[in-house]
Amino acid sequence: MSETYIARSSAIAARMLAGEMMVMNSMDSTFFTLNQVATAIWQAADGRTPLREIVRSQICEQFDIDPEQAQTDAAQFVADLSQHGILLVSDQPMRDPHAPEER
């Protein structure tokens, strides 16, 4: 089974406001807010950890969500954000030399 790796695009801006992560893509000015679960996936998107592992360690354990459902939801979430250029997706680990620091 091939793995999925996710990394944050270098074109995005992000900040937490009142428990919600605001994310904006400078390429097309699309603006999103992420809920707690989506924020956890987004923050763990380091290009090196497989999505499956992120969901297992960051989502299922912290949010007490059914693993199968969590994997399906995460895959959909990743597909949505990659369509908007906010997440980069690959079947190989990615090295991001400009990995930004979030606050």
């Binding site: 695009s9 801006a13 000015s29 930004p100 606050r103």
Partner: protein, 366 residues
């Protein structure tokens, strides 16, 4: 309400500084006739100091960061600061005259994920633009830079300050912006100089010329609504605030002074002596700004325009009171709608005055 407006409103309600304008220098390679700045360097923040400020701003929740000046590219460390700001995940906008931007700089700006570049252009006629900037050849260099940035896919906005020297050039400049494939914005506001000198206010376009701007559908797409007489004032209107200055927005000078807005010279603290968080949360000046609702305004609270006026508390402050009227905005409301403002009725027959209020860097403690 869009999601972005919803989050901006949330920041306003919670008192989070979601947006900050940071001038990294007052030095400039142009000498625009309407500029309010003193271009001498009186001790700009160092690279390390600005990086420290950026860290504090990120910590405080700032999302939208505008780098401006002066001319930002006169700082040799500007790209270092820009890169640092992007590492901290700010949404970055740059205001520049662009004369120092070539293809390589445009590529680097794009690679750093800058959101928008706003560029000052005053006319579609090189001789008019260069006469305003007092830099021969500046029009050609600026337009060339705009092409470099557009070709990189950057979002570029031409910002035109309308004054007596370029009053009839806005249509031509808007057309040039369309040909270049960039946005266009226009502002008829001229503010007094930082040292209090009001001589440049003579460049303001006369009020009677404003309807030509306000009733130009090319410049004001929603002209009918924009120029409609003011709606009856409601209780909610009187409980409202003028703008986001000091509520969810502030300005920081190259010397670390914090103000409610770039156009509101009320010194509220200095980031070289206090943490930004401390200034934002505890400055008596910012607290005062935040306390003023429409119902508290002298004269304006009884004005029929109170719900739709663009009243700038900073311009009002420069006229003498942050709770008073801003005559320039009274004029705009009148010429926009044809309905006189309470301040105009009060002052009819009296000469308009603009007292001097000076921006001075706060004294540095030993």
């Amino acid at each position: 309400m869009s999601l972005l407006n919803e989050m901006s409103q949330k920041a306003f309600d919670l008192g989070v500084p979601i947006s900050v304008h940071l001038d990294v220098t007052y030095r400039c390679n142009e000498r625009c006739v309407h500029c309010y700045l003193d271009h001498e360097d009186h001790g700009e923040m160092t690279t390390a100091e600005i990086k420290g400020v950026l860290e504090q701003l990120a910590e405080a929740g700032v999302f939208f960061l505008t780098f401006s000046g002066g001319e930002v590219f006169l700082r040799r460390d500007f790209f270092e600061l820009l890169e640092y700001a992007r590492r901290l995940l700010f949404n970055v906008k740059i205001k520049t005259n662009a004369v120092m931007i070539r293809e390589a700089e445009a590529q680097r700006i794009r690679a750093l994920g800058v959101d928008t570049i706003q560029i000052s252009v005053y006319s579609y006629r090189p001789e008019v633009h260069d006469a305003i900037t007092k830099l021969p050849g500046s029009f050609e260099r600026t337009i060339k830079a705009i092409r470099f940035m557009r070709d990189q896919g950057l979002k570029v906005t031409i910002a035109n300050v309308l004054m007596t020297w370029n009053l009839h050039d806005s249509d031509g400049l808007q057309q040039l912006a369309a040909e270049l494939g960039v946005h266009y914005t226009l502002d008829p506001t001229i503010t007094p100089m930082m040292d209090g000198d009001t001589s440049i206010l003579s460049l303001r376009i006369p009020g009677e010329e404003l309807p030509e701007v306000f009733r130009n559908p090319a410049l004001v797409p929603n002209m009918e609504e924009f120029c409609a007489p003011p709606k009856p004032v409601s209780e909610d209107d009187l409980e409202g605030y003028s703008c986001s200055a000091g509520h969810s927005f502030c300005y920081i000078s190259p010397y670390g002074d914090v103000f409610p807005c770039v156009q509101f010279p009320l010194p509220s603290g200095n980031i070289r002596r206090q943490k930004f968080f401390e200034i934002w949360n505890h400055s008596p000046e910012l607290k005062e700004v935040r306390s003023i609702k429409a119902k508290d305004l002298n004269v304006c609270s009884s004005c029929s325009h109170v719900s739709s006026c663009t009243r700038c508390p900073g311009l009002a402050y420069m006229e003498g009171s942050m709770q008073g009227p801003s005559s320039a905005d009274c004029e705009k409301s009148y010429y926009r709608t044809g309905v006189p403002t309470a301040n105009m009725l009060r002052n009819s027959g009296r000469a308009r005055m603009t007292p001097l209020v000076q921006i001075q860097p706060l004294p540095v403690l030993a």
